[in-house]
């Protein structure tokens, strides 16, 4: 999925919850905007090494690099629609404001559906 010579961030699934996480340079975050950006192939290779070590430490699974652009906010945002979907941490037809943690019961959805 990642193209050569583009900006990249490192992503994986958290082991316990399976939800998407992104490497910030210090830890894993559910917010892709906090991700550390690799500007060179060497940076990307270093990120991959971090990912493999984290996998080996049983923190995450399924590590891979994602192509990003820097947005007007100066923060990384995926370029491919699949990854844009994934960073939402919820189906595209759910409201934006809901459940950013990706782990708590999504009461608003249930209430709306039951209404």
């Amino acid at each position: 999925m990642a193209k050569k010579n583009s900006l990249k961030i490192l992503t994986a699934n958290q082991l316990l919850g399976g939800y998407s996480v992104f490497w910030t340079g210090a830890d894993w975050s559910t917010d892709h905007r906090r991700a550390q950006v690799a500007h060179t192939p060497e940076d990307a290779a270093a990120l991959e090494r971090v990912g493999k070590a984290s996998e080996a430490a049983n923190e995450v699974v399924g590590v891979y690099l994602v192509d990003v652009d820097l947005g007007a906010d100066g923060l990384p945002h995926p370029t491919h629609y699949r990854e844009k979907m994934r960073v939402r941490a919820r189906p595209s037809f759910w409201p934006d404001a809901a459940d950013p943690s990706g782990v708590r019961p999504f009461k608003a959805f249930v209430d709306r559906h039951a209404a």
Partner: protein, 551 residues
């Protein structure tokens, strides 16, 4: 319904305990992901786009109200308050935490359910006609055969590592509602000229990236010979099916590359060698299982119900629901009622915990505590007195479950697509939602008549798009979602694979294209003609032209 004996109960509990240990070892790091993945998949646990997904088996789509309530409890306690009923009559939870899954499996075992063999290269959950045991056109209830196969295939040591997954469907009616011609093995329970019961056997059907219609392997296999015959098919496939290429590993490839005659001969050669001494006496086992599926004690009723007729006259909305969402029952005075899980703008097949509990309550009050899941992602109340249909409808309305659209244009079948699935190449649910909104008008839907729209978010075809009158396949094209439309698919006895219509559409163009096609059909159809009949009369090229007609 079948009830576990001591062996079944112990087997399921032992599997839960095994998996609990495996999860604990995974969380401590004693098992790597590579080691753990096949173990979790054997217990129905996938890792999807946003979270883990647990697929729970609903054998041949049959549920008790007690089981439905437990599914609701699991949705509320461990997930996000809802579940997704699938095209294989199962339910999927989209947000379980890994640490909770053993507890979920224990809770499932409390109501004689599990997630075993809902993934992996094994014999998957056996599916069946959702109207089994109650359909007016049925020759014999197929569920005892489905249960027999389920028990035989559970943890079968020889068939746990097949070249690829393996799906078996059973119907007991001449009108195929189990899609038997598109399964690895499809069975139809029939009677031969001597009045003996057995099965017509089909093999080598399938959807996915290479859709194929199965071939008939046998006109009649007596019921006591069925397991040896299936074993012979499995053995030929296990030995000869390709393991070098995942995309060519299903039995359909073997059957069609070998040729029907040669494959059939290989099966019969193997059949002659099957060691029947390794199997229990099948007639006794079938008899034991059939005792669980005896017809319930129906009240003796006249077929016509004055209460029903009066209510239909008094309330046109109810009358429409009866016309659209009920089916003929074999017992006079009773009806089969369909609960649509396709509300306007909803995600097809999704039900909240509250909705599941409402359906369970209605089943207790009006359907002898039984429900079914259909391959169209709806729920069936199989045993409703006609005189109680109005009460059922009123309660469904109160629960938001009374959409009168069964088998109509807004009864859209859809896989989870890219909103959930890590394999998907495009979203499917939002397309389904737009179609249900565009065609929400109930009178218009009934006027359009029966039509199957099926959407898959990738070439694996979990949304069964190949067998939709209108099939929609979501793909990636130059970095964007694109949708290819097929026409003329048919999952029934007149099985057909939909034919591609031409260039794909962007997401925002799909519903407009379908609307153009529907308007063309409404204009061109002859009196009483269905969409399918118009398609066959006018031909593919004429119909597909309507998709691309200028605005």
């Amino acid at each position: 319904m079948y009830q576990y004996d001591a062996f079944d109960a112990r087997f399921v509990r032992e599997r839960v305990a095994q998996f609990r240990g495996q999860v604990e070892r995974r969380l401590t790091g004693a098992l790597t992901e590579d080691e753990f993945r096949p173990l979790r998949l054997m217990n129905g646990l996938y890792l999807q786009l946003h979270a883990y997904m647990l697929r729970v088996a609903i054998p041949y789509g049959t549920l008790s109200s007690l089981q439905m309530r437990q599914l609701a409890m699991i949705a509320d306690k461990y997930d996000r308050g809802y579940g997704h009923f699938t095209t294989r009559q199962n339910i999927q939870y989209n947000w379980p935490l890994l640490k909770d899954v053993p507890d979920i499996l224990d809770d499932l075992a409390d109501v004689e359910m599990h997630a075993i063999q809902t993934s992996g290269n094994c014999i998957r959950n056996v599916t069946a006609d959702p109207y089994s045991g109650v359909a007016a056109d049925e020759v014999s209830d197929p569920r005892p055969f489905a249960e027999l196969i389920r028990q035989w295939s559970s943890a079968h040591p020889e068939f746990s590592f097949l070249p690829r997954k393996f799906k078996i469907a059973v119907t007991g009616a001449p009108n195929d509602r189990a899609v038997i011609k598109f399964h690895d093995i499809g069975l139809r329970v029939v009677q031969n000229a001597e009045g003996q019961r057995g099965c017509e056997v089909w093999a080598g059907g399938g959807l996915g990236r290479t859709p194929m219609i199965g071939v008939k392997v046998a006109d009649f296999i007596g019921e006591t010979d069925l397991l040896p015959f299936i074993e012979a098919i499995m053995r030929v496939y296990n030995a000869e099916g390709r393991r070098d290429n995942k995309f060519k590993a299903r039995i359909k490839i073997l059957v069609h590359e070998t040729g029907a005659d040669e494959f059939r001969q290989a099966v019969y050669d193997e059949y002659a060698r099957v060691d029947r001494s390794s199997m229990p006496p099948i007639d006794e086992e079938l008899k034991r299982i059939e005792a669980f599926f005896r017809p319930p004690s129906y009240d003796a009723l006249p077929d016509a119900s004055p209460e029903l007729q009066a209510a239909m006259i008094a309330d046109p909305d109810f009358a429409r629901w009866v016309r659209v969402n009920t089916r003929a029952h074999k017992q006079p005075g009773y009806a089969i009622a369909l609960i649509s899980l396709k509300p306007k703008g909803g995600a097809p097949g999704d039900a909240t915990g509250a909705e599941m509990r409402a359906m369970a309550d209605i089943a207790d009050a009006h359907s002898l505590s039984e429900l079914r899941v259909t391959a169209e992602q709806n729920i069936v109340l199989p045993n409703v007195k006609k005189s109680e249909l109005f009460a059922v409808w009123s309660k469904l309305q109160a629960a938001g479950l009374a959409a009168p659209n069964a088998e109509l244009i807004s009864d859209v079948v859809s896989c989870p697509g890219l909103d959930y699935c890590s394999l998907a190449t495009a979203r499917s649910i939002p397309i389904a939602q737009e179609i249900t909104e565009r065609f929400a008008d109930a009178a218009m839907q009934e006027s359009i008549g029966p039509i199957r729209i099926k959407i898959s978010g990738c070439i694996n075809a979990c949304g069964h798009h190949h067998v939709g009158d209108i099939g929609i396949l979501g793909l990636e094209k130059t970095g964007a979602e694109a949708y290819q439309i097929t026409l003329g698919g048919d999952p029934t006895d007149t099985a057909a694979i939909g034919e591609r219509s031409g260039p794909g559409f962007p997401a925002e163009g799909v519903t407009d294209a379908i609307e153009r096609l529907i308007h063309f059909y409404l204009r061109e159809r002859q009196p009483g003609e269905t969409f399918k009949e118009t398609y066959h009369r006018l031909g593919h090229d004429v119909m597909k032209g309507a998709l691309y007609a200028p605005h």
